[in-house]
Amino acid sequence: MKDSPTRDGDAPALEVQDLSFAYGGRPVLEAISLAIAAGEFVVLLGPNGAGKTTLFSLITRLHDRRQGEIRIGGFDVRRQAVKAHARIGVVFQQPTLDLDLSVAQNLAYHAALHGMGPGEARRRAEAQLARVGLADRRRTRVRRLSGGQRRRVEIARGLLHEPRLLLLDEPTVGLDVASRRDLVEHAHRLCAEEGVAVLWATHLIDEVRPGDRVLVLHRGRLLADGTSATLTARLGVATLGEAFDRLVGEEAPCD
């Protein structure tokens, strides 16, 4: 999808303003505002049920009965849906690959959904698979890949259309320690090398690196926004874990 008028330029990769969302009369998100610059790595930290997945659903417009504004690269997800959507890559919480199809077929399907021709799709798929170290697995059925490899395929898929913003919703669920570390590292490299902004949702504090910017989401409200170093300094505690406990209070401990 080519487009003429722009608002990308210096616009933030993601901009959320006063976002509120209620489900069944119960507020799930309350007055969320945040901005993520191009190439920035941001961790969205919150316990289960904090509203992380809901926030992602609203950004990707799976549903959008909400208040407030969401813009991707300056494009409103509602009024300029086509352009906004073309700039988002997503790795969902649940696995979403077709297990019976090969890696290449899964990527080709996604490329087609973004309007790419077969040739271009193949070139990009090869480049992305090489990047995640799965170039030799193109023809393998997804069913035969390990959990970590499937996640990497999903990241390759999320980046196939060269988005400005990559959303990852608890991408390390079910992975072993080594695969988790690899994935976190890979996401950081993407930001540094490709200029892709990454929003990484997790409830695992050990996935946060000292220099990462952290957004703490709890019960639908954004409690903190800053690097883990500034957070610990501000609250006068030694670790991010303590800072987190202090922020979310006594209820809902985070594992």
């Binding site: 549903h63 969902f92 399907y109 309007g115």
Partner: protein
Amino acid sequence: MRLMPWLHCLRGVVGRELLRFLHQRSRFLAALVRPLVWLFVFAAGFRMALGVAMTEPYQTYILYEVYIVPGLVGMIQLFNGMQSSLSMVYDREMGSMRVLLVSPFPRWYLLVCKLLASTLVSAVQVYVFLAIAWWYGIQAPPMGYLWVLPALLVTGFMVGALGLLLSTFVRQLENFAGVMNFVIFPMFFLSSALYPLWRLREGSHLVYQIAAFNPFTHAVEMIRFALYERVNPEAILISVAVTLVLLALAILGYNPSRGLMARKGGGD
């Protein structure tokens, strides 16, 4: 070129549906065996009990097997449409519906692509069934097999859109058994698929009225006439109108802000 990306999207959705279909050979077999059992066992058994007098569009007296074939074609499409609705529910649980819906193309277009894909898969099944019926001796005029294609497309969209609409109500896979009992079976049995309407009227006026009202009856009649190179304007008009209404409702159902998706929320 602005058109190409749209075509690539369509190609991708249809291609995936066909690939999945090829990988599910048991599903294909089941879809084929079901109407064949009806044809070889049910119809053969009823042949004696139920002679069918001359009715439109047939030129002569016909055997019951001949009468029932268009109805069984409709059955293939009905099951297939509902099965793709089942796969929507299943897909949504697996999350691959999300993959489809985060595509930048408008949602109505994505859903139409999805419906066209499942319609084409059902058309393949129908033609295999018709080929076996031909070999069995139930032969329509050769051109009828071409005429029937547009009728198959309309019917495929009709039952597919109905399935889509249902999938916005059915949250869990378990509920699909209810869809079978309360949608598929009544639609099939209370139609002209197995018996001509005038015969139903002899039996029960109420059943006749329901069947005459049932859109599936009109779809089956549209298929029946097309297979014999005839046009049934009433059946076509009603079928197309019902299809458009169902399609509009299904698209509305998947609208992020107005539809049932929003009401159900993403609360998982």
